[in-house]
Symmetry: C2
Subunit: 219 residues, 2 copies
Amino acid sequence: MPSANAVLKKPIEMPAEPEKRVRNRAATEQAILNAAKRLLAEEGFQNFGINAVARGAGCDKQLIYRYYGGLDGLVEAIGTDLGSWVKDRIPDDTGGMFLLTYGDLMERLALLFLDALRADPLMRRIVAWEVSENTEQVRRLSEARSKALAGWIERMRGSLTPPKGIDTIGVNAMIFAAIQHLVLSAAVSGQCAGLVLKTSKDWEKAATALKRIVRGVYG
Amino acid sequence: MPSANAVLKKPIEMPAEPEKRVRNRAATEQAILNAAKRLLAEEGFQNFGINAVARGAGCDKQLIYRYYGGLDGLVEAIGTDLGSWVKDRIPDDTGGMFLLTYGDLMERLALLFLDALRADPLMRRIVAWEVSENTEQVRRLSEARSKALAGWIERMRGSLTPPKGIDTIGVNAMIFAAIQHLVLSAAVSGQCAGLVLKTSKDWEKAATALKRIVRGVYG
DNA sequence: CCAACCTGTCACCAGCCGGTGAATAACAAG
DNA sequence: CTTGTTATTCACCGGCTGGTGACAGGTTGG
């Protein structure tokens, strides 16, 4: 209940400023999509709804039904957008490094993913949503996210072959799970399992621990 | 309209089904608490509210205000209950094994925690809640949980000293984060980062990967 | 010019939510 | 029986939610 009710009512419009709203469907669609992403990123999925999005976009909720077919369609549009996330936020090359071993690769991937997730509130909210609910909406989002991520990893892997005798799928799942929970927990409470995660120094220590784990498995 | 409003009172109860409700405050309190835990475990924190709990407990919501001081107090009561969780669900001894090294200990702790979390829907919902919201309610729950967990680890550790030169806090945070996210994701979608987690065979592979990680760090 | 669209707004509905004041029913003591 | 206490329920409020039908106004084309 202590949600941010601070700004709900808008004051009466000043008559001198009719705030002419241009008739432009494409722009409105974009405004709605942006409002949805912003709202989800900043407020989380708890109070995410038709009314809130319409309020945030400054238009009538009816338009959301018209242009996106309701909240489901809007969420799906967000998911489609998600595909470009990896492209925008995670480097696609090896940063000039030569990745000689699978361990080199995984260490780099882990650190890149950690930073990218840390810098993207929307993605964090989506991950939190994924482990909290199992509706069709979330399943779609989740699928889009995992697909984009898998593609990125595949691209980065290149022709590097995984080591024999190790269940790389299982181990990598553990590593990525660790990163996701660590970042989520830190974003909410500033710590995770007794490890404080606030200053950049804290995060350096976390990165060191992460490297240690990756190197422990892959050498 | 007037004819419809003519009768406000419910018709006379059927004499065959008085559904006698015993007057027993302690029992009612317990029923409320049980309903709250059950509801949270089964439905998640999304639709968790005064009305839902009262409905589930089969009593009026007013009693929740009276006996627990509202939802906050009720959640706090759940948190208090949580302290006994570790005691009930995770063995407190070493199961007859001699834990010679810190690696032995951490491997055992990790596997025990994995199984315990996997078997406890309520705890899973609380963990998911923790990474989704940052209200006072959740903070209290989170604190109770982490305190109980830390106590358990401390007890299990006994006189075993952690290895030098390793940031055990950081590494252990990673390990426990991995377990939590893995179990949460699996409970919701049956997989995690491409790793399918449905059959017990799947979980054995996950356990193996987990052991590999722990042993990779702690030897 | 009028007619047909398209964009956007408004008013309204039923339903649920958290929250509260008062009535009611069971019991205990005098 | 009367009185008081305690447990329990009831009735109602304002506010927000998702959802829909009707309407206003600009834009286009015949």
